[in-house]
Symmetry: C2
Subunit: 318 residues, 2 copies
Amino acid sequence: MILTVTLNTALDITYRVRSLRPHASHRVSEVAERPGGKGLNVARVLAALGHEVTVTGFAGGHTGAVLRAMLAEAPGAPADALVPVSGATRRTVAVVDERTGDTTQLNEPGPQISPAEWAAFLGRYQELLPGASAVALCGSLPPGVPVGAYAGLVRAARSAGVPVLLDTSGEPLRRGVAARPDVIKPNTEELAELTGSHEPLRATQDARRRGAHAVVASLGADGLLAVTPEGHWRAAPPAPVHGNPTGAGDSAVAGLLSGLVERLPWPDRLARAAALSAATVRAPAAGEFDHAAYTELLGRVRVTGAAGAAQAGSGPSW
Amino acid sequence: MILTVTLNTALDITYRVRSLRPHASHRVSEVAERPGGKGLNVARVLAALGHEVTVTGFAGGHTGAVLRAMLAEAPGAPADALVPVSGATRRTVAVVDERTGDTTQLNEPGPQISPAEWAAFLGRYQELLPGASAVALCGSLPPGVPVGAYAGLVRAARSAGVPVLLDTSGEPLRRGVAARPDVIKPNTEELAELTGSHEPLRATQDARRRGAHAVVASLGADGLLAVTPEGHWRAAPPAPVHGNPTGAGDSAVAGLLSGLVERLPWPDRLARAAALSAATVRAPAAGEFDHAAYTELLGRVRVTGAAGAAQAGSGPSW
């Protein structure tokens, strides 16, 4: 079982409007709703790839109840190990402008988590770890969760011998990296914020020095850049893919995790992650991936680089 | 008991953001939620004025359940005679830009109403009419409700001898007016759409000729213009009021209805409606009214005009 952690789950709402104009009134032509938060998105893609998945984190209020009901009805539904909280799960609203195709995003902050609720989560996490083949820690922290939360969760996974991937940003990422996660997957902006460098290769190498065993940077249209104990590689689709990038990073995480538990060599993991990511950008619905496009792209992703190119002996590999 | 009808109830959500920029991602700093739809807003103000109120219309799905729970907890809660439907009550999202104070509005279309659900509503409405001292028909129609719906509801109220106020727009207003409601309360835009005239007095008189016994036009900062069988008047606060106009029209409707059932003369009804409307614009929360401001403004609203100024003998007065 692969475990994904989403501390700030969300009910993702997508609105289509003819043209978004600030300070005007808009009739929404189409409404879509689905369970969200990075870890739930990762779980959805893992389930579509045939993996057994368990999701944990927090859910509460009427939005939390809707999220859990939708999760249970999803095809290949992940096991629901979410911890109930008294506050309401946040909503995110994505407003798609039909004229330009652009999206405007409104993200609620999430419920206040009490110390007792945080303790309940830590108990649940410890119970779940022994059954997990890998764990992904994903997304922002809701109010009340300590900023060093991910560092503690990384250490607990490592103590339990479970490979751990961290995908977050800002101070939670900075602290989490110092706890030596097996993989981090920052995007260009998160990587620059962590390292102070806007040069991807330099920043990726610096992120490894800060503690991450492997760093897979998602560089948008430029694909993925991986610096690992086994070597470093770039993986990119043969041509830029047009569409909606929402969820592309989460699909890449699912590709990396599934490749990890299937013990694929790094180049194959990266090809899978890049193909899933591109197939997500190309899908008509935000955050979904197009299976046919994935299969087609998988054979055409170019992976360049070499094993052993990074410093050897910098940690155990899996 | 005053009956308000809201066929397209809504869960009104207000987001505060630092500055709304299309195609960017925004962190919402504050989230507020309340039961909405014009008839529910009218009921809230009537309850605050001490009137017994019953609300009917449709509610369904998880948003409908939240709306009904919040309605039950409201101070001076109106009696809930909403008819359950299988579709979900719509949400409206008002995004307040903290920098400019302006609001951007996103309105979901509302649930599809089946013929059986519409028939269930008509039965409920007929049961409620005999106990009502007045009825307000408010807002847009959800998908599936016939466009002539309000015309039928106006006729049923008139047959039952219950004074009826209609506050809607477009084709539902055009058809509803022809059924001879006692009062309509269009704003400038709705009045122009109905009559083709942008000259308020001419348009208001034309709306009467189309069937409305009395027309009270809300002219924004210019206050109210009333053309009734008893005379015509203008009512306006002593100086323009600054703030958020959301719900100002609904407060005016509550002022008119309460004055009607209390058998106040038209100038007093209009003074109350104009003061409530201005006190709503001035309140910090959208759609609420400021009690102290209302009391203060009530004594200062100027009502000008004269009894008998309109054509006499054009229908029964109440």
